[in-house]
Every structure is written in C-alpha cells, then in structure tokens.
C-alpha cells in the first residue's frame, strides 16, 4: 500500500511546479518522449524531464537513504534518539562542501568534496575507536562527538574567512539543504554509492534485530557483531554522505521517519527497513513540494523538514500507534 502511496506522491510531484501544466498536457509530453517525437511544448518538456524528473528521483533516493541510515543506527546503538549524523558524516560532508565553495570550485567538486570528507570523518571515528580500547559503542559515540566538533569548527573557520558578500551566503544556503540545483547529471553518480549502501544495510536487517539486544547477546546468538557493525556503518555512511553531497544537510528525516515507521509496522528490522525507505521517500517528496511551491523563493528543505516534521510527529504519537515502549 505504501508503494502505491509512493507512486502517487511521485506522480503528484511531477504535476506540481512553478510552470503549471494540466495533467493532460503532461501526459501528452510523456507519450511524445516515449515515442521519440519532438516536444509539443519545449518549455514544459524541459521543466518536466530536466528539472522535475531528476529532482523527484534524487529526493526519493535521499529520503530512502537518510531514513534507512537512521533506522539502522538506532538499532545498532540501541538508542532511539540517534540519527545518521551520529558518527560525524554530516559534519564532515558540510566541511568538505564549504571548503569547495570557499575555493570557488564547481558544483561537481562540491559534491565530491562533501562525499569524501563525510567518509573521512567517519573513518577517523573508526580509527579513534581502534586506538581507544573499551566499550566499542561508547567509543564510537564519543569519537563521533569529537570528530563532529572538529569538523564543525573547521566549517566555522571557513565561514569566518569567506567573503561575506558572496561566498558566505552560498555556504549558509548550502548548509540549510536544498534540492533546487539538481540536474540529470547528479542522478547517475548518486546511484552507485547509494546502491552499495542500501545493499550493505538491507542485507543486515535480521542481524540488526539481534544487535538491538546489545553486543553480548547478539554475539551469544551467533552474530558476528564486529562484521555487522562495520558493514552497517559503511553502508549508512555511504548513504548519508552521498545524500548530503547532493542536497546539503537535511536533518530530522533520519531521526523521525524511522520512528514514524516503527509506529506503523513495529520494530522488526526485516519489515522496518524496507518500509522506512518508502515512508522516508514519501515524507521528503511531500516536504520538497512545499519547499518548491510555498513561497515565490524556494525555501531550504532542511528548514522545512523540521518545521513540518514536528507537528507531524506529534500527530502520529497522539494516535498512539505502536511506538516506543
């Protein structure tokens, strides 16, 4: 049912836009494209296939990625308040993107810098965790806080030295998150790390159930906890870093959508992870439509996810479906 919901929301998002067109002419343009005919209305065709289509694809992927990453971390760290940026992925990616903006590099470099710096931040956390012995989970969380702080300071330094007229607004805007500049060229490079990330995390979904009971118990149940942890962290980091690289920092999705989904289908990761992909995509598509249409200037989606997320979250918990105990 949720898959149908996703298809419906995609279709509606396709129809909505600043360049309004009735569904009939949209359908006509699609059939013309499918048949290889020239576009009936070139402006509409551009809006549909070069602007709306890639944007919808990217929003869907990012919504899926962030909610899957968040859900898997919540189970692995046995903590419902954990989000995908726990291990410093977003702090690192933000720093990378800001650095690229400061150096006046092109759009593709912003994405590459963000992606690499996000991976580097999490890598640093893993390295710290190897050096400091003790409780592995606690070490990771502390490492995430340390590295996150380090990269956030780096971002602040960049903001400090950035040109206040030109680069600082660009940096600030990027940090708030947006899908505004997404083009067809962004879609393909996103697919590879995302596909690897989804496969890594989704194949561990049964083991994530065991991990929710804690390290010792999972091991006593025959789970190779070290391997599961490494695979899930790698997968979630690929998902988070590539999301941030293309869309900037979008908070809230990775924290709230998994809870929403848990309220709908329960905590079993076998069902939770696939479902949270759908709910994450639907939620982000809806919010992105608001971001595009609510105001004559596009609103950064990072702001909207939280503004719309809070009442939505309260509504769901008021309904008191199956949530936390």
């Amino acid at each position: 049912m949720l898959s149908l919901g996703l298809v419906f929301v995609c279709a509606v998002s396709f129809l909505l836009g600043r360049y309004f067109a009735p569904p009939a002419s949209v359908a006509e343009e699609i059939s013309r494209l499918a048949l290889g005919d020239a576009a009936g209305d070139p402006k509409l065709a551009t809006a549909l296939f070069n602007i709306r289509f890639p944007r919808i694809v990217v929003v869907t992927l990012v919504g899926m990625a962030l909610s899957v990453a968040g859900a898997s971390y919540q189970g692995m760290f046995k903590n419902p308040l954990v989000s995908p940026d726990l291990l410093g992925a977003s702090a690192g990616a933000s720093f990378g993107a800001c650095l690229a903006l400061l150096l006046n590099l092109g759009n593709e470099f912003i994405q590459i810098f963000a992606f690499v710096a996000g991976l580097a931040a999490v890598g640093l956390v893993m390295l710290l965790n190897r050096v400091v012995r003790g409780d592995a989970l606690l070490g990771l969380i502390l490492g995430g806080i340390l590295v996150g702080t380090l990269f956030t300071s780096g971002t602040s330094i960049i903001k400090l030295v950035a040109d206040a007229d030109d680069k600082l607004p660009a940096i600030t805007f990027w940090l708030m998150g947006s899908f505004a500049g997404v083009t067809l060229n962004d879609v393909l490079p996103l697919f590879v790390p995302m596909a690897i990330g989804f496969v890594l995390v989704l194949t561990q979904r049964w083991n994530l159930n065991a991990m929710s009971f804690g390290e010792d118990e999972a091991r006593a149940l025959g789970v190779n906890t070290k391997a599961v942890r490494a695979l899930v962290i790698l997968g979630a980091t690929l998902l988070t870093a590539s999301s941030i690289a293309v869309a900037g920092v979008i908070g809230w999705i990775g924290l709230v959508v998994p809870h929403l989904t848990r309220a709908l289908v329960g905590p079993n990761y076998r069902i939770l992870l696939p479902t949270t992909m759908l709910t994450g995509a639907i939620f982000l598509l809806i919010v992105d439509n608001f971001a595009r249409l609510l105001y004559s200037v596009e609103i950064p989606i990072g702001l909207l996810t939280s503004i719309l997320g809070v009442p939505f979250f309260i509504f769901i918990y008021r309904k008191n479906l199956r949530g936390w105990s």
């Binding site: 919540q74 189970g75 046995k78 903590n79 419902p80 012995r133 194949t203 561990q204 979904r205 049964w206 083991n207 159930n209 065991a210 929710s212 009971f213 804690g214 010792d216 118990e217 091991r219 006593a220 149940l221 025959g222 789970v223 190779n224 391997a227 599961v228 848990r262 329960g266 905590p267 079993n268 076998r270 199956r322 949530g323 936390w324 105990s325």
Partner: protein
C-alpha cells in the same frame, strides 16, 4: 509449606535428578567397557578478565547431559566474568573450553565459528530494558539466528515453527503476539529462556536469571530450568542465592577471589562454614521436615539476634 501437594512438589525437585543420574551412570558404565567418552563440556583452567586485568584465575569443571551446575560466590568473585569467558565474549588469557572433546575456545581465540558456538551454548541474560517494543514471537525467532543459512538470510517458516515450539515448551505461546517490553519481569525472563531453547543448544548458560524476579516468578523460572535439565541439556547457572543452589543443582562450584574454592555436590559445598567464608555472613544450613514427612535442605540466614554477637 502447609499445603501437602506443594510440599511434595518441592520435595521432588530437591532430590537429585534421577534421569540425569541414570545418564551419568550409563556413561560411566559404558566408559568402563570402552574408551571413556569425553565430557559434554569441559572447562580447563580458564583464565579471563577485562583488558589486562585477570579476574578469573583458573577454573576447571566438567558437565554432562542433564547436569545442573550452579556457580556461586560473592559479588565481584568473578562468576559472571567466568561465564563471559566461557561464552567467548571476553578473551581468554589461558585455558580452554572443550565441547564433546573438541576445542571450542582457547587463549588463541575461537576455534569454533560464532554459529557453531550459538548452536551449542545458549546464553540467558538477566532481563533488561529494550529500546524498541519487539514482539515476543520476534524475540524468540532471534534464537534461530545461528541456524540461518547465511549471515544475510532471514528466518524461514521452519524457523518460525521451531520458535513457536520453544514458546509452547514453556507454556507461554499465548503471549507470542504481545510486545516484549509490556510484559512482567517473570514473563520477560521466560521469553528469553524460550529464545535460548529456539537455539536448540546442548548447554544453557544463565547469569542470575532470577535476580529481578519476585518469589513466585523465581520458582517458576527455576522449575522450568529443572525441566530442561531433565530433558538432557546441561545447565550452568550463576546465582548468589544458596537456597536456589540447594533447590536445583546436582553440582556446585564455589568461587572466591577468581578461583574455585570448593567443587562438589550441594551437600558438600553449601555449608555454614563455606557461606561464612565467601559471604562473611552467618547462616545455618538445616533440614526442614515437611508435613508429608519428606525432608528438604535449606539455608536460614542468622542475624545477631540468633548468634548473640555484639553489634559491630
């Protein structure tokens, strides 16, 4: 205690478990004729601890099918550490753990895979909080993890049937659809035992399973564990209650300061002298005569009132 039926039931459980004794006897007898079969579980001079601090300084014991081994000792004597060492959760500094004559664990690390381990040993932890409201059926199904085809597989219908059987064995199949987090402590502990049964292990290991349970639930859990011992599993239970040892065990390991102080039958090990030595507490180990004429051994804690010692 005034209820004769209740008394008879208690009496029945205090006696050493007859099937288990028979099994051991047969094993011993056949051992005389042929080569002695290696014990089901053999813990050999196990040394383990945290980081570089050795907490358990060499303990050894064996357990056969049907044995109910209780490990007793004061807080901090290394009981739980020893269990975690046996389960491979903590690294061994020395010694080994053998199952049926095959080495499973040594100071070099695991010599059996995590799956083999979990199909042989099931660990029943103390009840604990869980961050998410898993269904009882899902919790028990997790016990099937070591039987899954690969590390990326999910349980099959056969696994679901096995999990249901485990719930049924404990008589709690009616709560399969409940949320684990909404259950009472006693029920949660039974669910964790069911999860262990779903692993189809040969050895059950428990760490103070009755610690946070009320009187009735303690008895319920211990009775179920005794049943499982009779069905041919070896049960190893860490406890700090000498009364539970007298209630369940046929073999006792008394730990003190990280090593074995005494090993033997409950009668040999649960004595006033040993209890005073490990706990620094005065107690009388005595025999209570029940209304039906049968006798049970029990432990009575003594306060200053009884002993007439001056206040310290």
């Amino acid at each position: 205690m005034n209820n004769p039926n209740g008394a008879a039931r208690i009496h029945g459980e205090v006696l050493p478990n007859p099937e288990a004794a028979a099994t051991n006897h047969e094993a011993a007898a056949s051992g005389c004729r042929r080569v002695a079969a290696p014990p089901l579980l053999s813990v050999n001079n196990l040394r383990t601890g945290y980081h570089r601090t050795e907490v358990v300084k060499g303990i050894s014991f064996t357990a056969e099918r049907g044995d109910f081994v209780c490990v007793i000792g004061a807080n901090g004597c290394g009981k739980t550490t020893a269990l975690k060492g046996m389960l491979g959760i903590l690294p061994l500094f020395g010694g080994s753990v053998d199952v049926g004559g095959r080495e499973f664990l040594s100071a070099g690390g695991h010599t059996a895979t995590a799956k083999e381990f979990a199909r042989t040993f099931a660990y029943i932890p103390q009840i604990h909080g869980l961050p998410f409201p898993f269904l009882v059926s899902d919790v028990v199904l997790l016990g099937r993890t070591p039987h899954l085809r690969s590390s990326v597989s999910s349980p099959s219908d056969a696994d679901k049937a096995a999990a249901y059987m485990a719930l049924k064995t404990l008589g709690i199949e009616s709560i399969a659809g409940s949320e684990y987090t909404a259950l009472s402590g006693g029920q949660q502990q039974l669910v964790l035992i069911a999860r262990a049964l779903a692993q189809e292990p040969r050895i059950l290991i428990m760490d103070e399973p009755t610690a946070s349970l009320d009187f009735g639930n303690q008895q319920l859990v211990l009775d179920r564990m005794l049943d499982l011992g009779r069905e041919g599993m070896a049960v190893i239970m860490v406890t700090h209650d000498p009364a539970h040892v007298l209630h369940c065990a046929n073999k006792v390991i008394v730990m003190d300061g990280g090593s074995v102080l005494r090993e033997g039958t409950p009668e040999e090990t649960i004595t006033a002298e040993i209890l005073e030595r490990i706990y620094g507490a005065r107690a009388a180990v005595t025999t209570a005569r029940l209304d039906d004429g049968s006798e049970v051994r029990t432990v009575v804690p003594l306060s200053r009132r009884h002993t007439g010692a001056p206040p310290s």
